[in-house]
């Protein structure tokens, strides 16, 4: 098994690892790859832009604080990172439930939107509206697949479902959403 110790400047293999320096993970590359995916995971999950940046930042800060406890390969790292993101979403909804109704949250989605992003915003709002009728597990699968860009295998690892189950649920969900799009 490959073992790595990651730093922001670069990631070098742990002393037990046999890989050479050239094969080591590059934390900057990992950050640039995963930051947009975590960001989009929150957009899909929240159905709005507000607080997405804050939650993305908190995900990386938590991961960064706990990075010494993590020593695995890149695939494992993204699963670990999205687990942190999933927990933050749960906490977020828990705290929001006592402050905002869903109708109020809808009204907040059109704040601070650049003109070129309006169409994308409109699609995001439409998805949020359609997804509201879905169970929480299905909304999570959509966010992990299309927001975070995880493979079915990674989603299975993250949710405890089997890979084939993830595939068939997503297939059904996409058909359902497309029919109502």
């Amino acid at each position: 098994m490959r073992i790595y110790v990651m730093t922001m400047a670069r990631a070098t293999p742990h002393s037990q690892a046999t890989d050479t320096e050239s094969q080591s993970l590059d934390w900057n590359r990992i950050y640039l790859d995963l930051a947009p995916r975590v960001y989009n995971y929150f957009r899909f999950r929240l159905g709005q832009e507000r607080e997405v940046e804050d939650l993305t930042a908190r995900t990386f800060e938590k991961a960064w604080t706990a990075r010494d406890s993590y020593r695995r390969d890149l695939a494992g790292f993204s699963t670990w990172l999205f687990k942190i993101a999933q927990n933050l979403v749960v906490d977020h909804f828990r705290s929001q439930r006592s402050h905002l109704s869903i109708d109020h949250a809808d009204n907040l989605t059109v704040i601070d939107i650049a003109e070129e992003d309006l169409e994308r915003q409109s699609d995001l709002a439409r998805l949020a509206s359609l997804a509201r009728e879905l169970p929480a597990r299905d909304r999570e699968l959509i966010a992990l697949k299309y927001g975070a860009g995880l493979s079915n295998r990674e989603i299975a690892r993250s949710t405890g479902l089997t890979e084939s189950n993830v595939g068939s649920i997503l297939h059904r969900l996409v058909q359902n959403l497309r029919a109502r799009w």
């Binding site: 640039l32 947009p36 989009n40 899909f44 940046e53 993305t56 930042a57 960064w64």
Partner: protein
Amino acid sequence: MNDDFLYRIRAEPSPRFVASLKERLNQSEKAPKARLWALRRSFFVGSLITGAACLRRA
């Protein structure tokens, strides 16, 4: 499976946000190191003072 309509919703985070978060993570990496050096320095100075006090008594 035609799922392009879902992929189209994805958006890039603003470069300003990506850069500022990266900078914050970099800073948080430097901060513990700085604290560690301050602790080592204090320990070193403390040891010198204790050593000097012991020598004076002897």
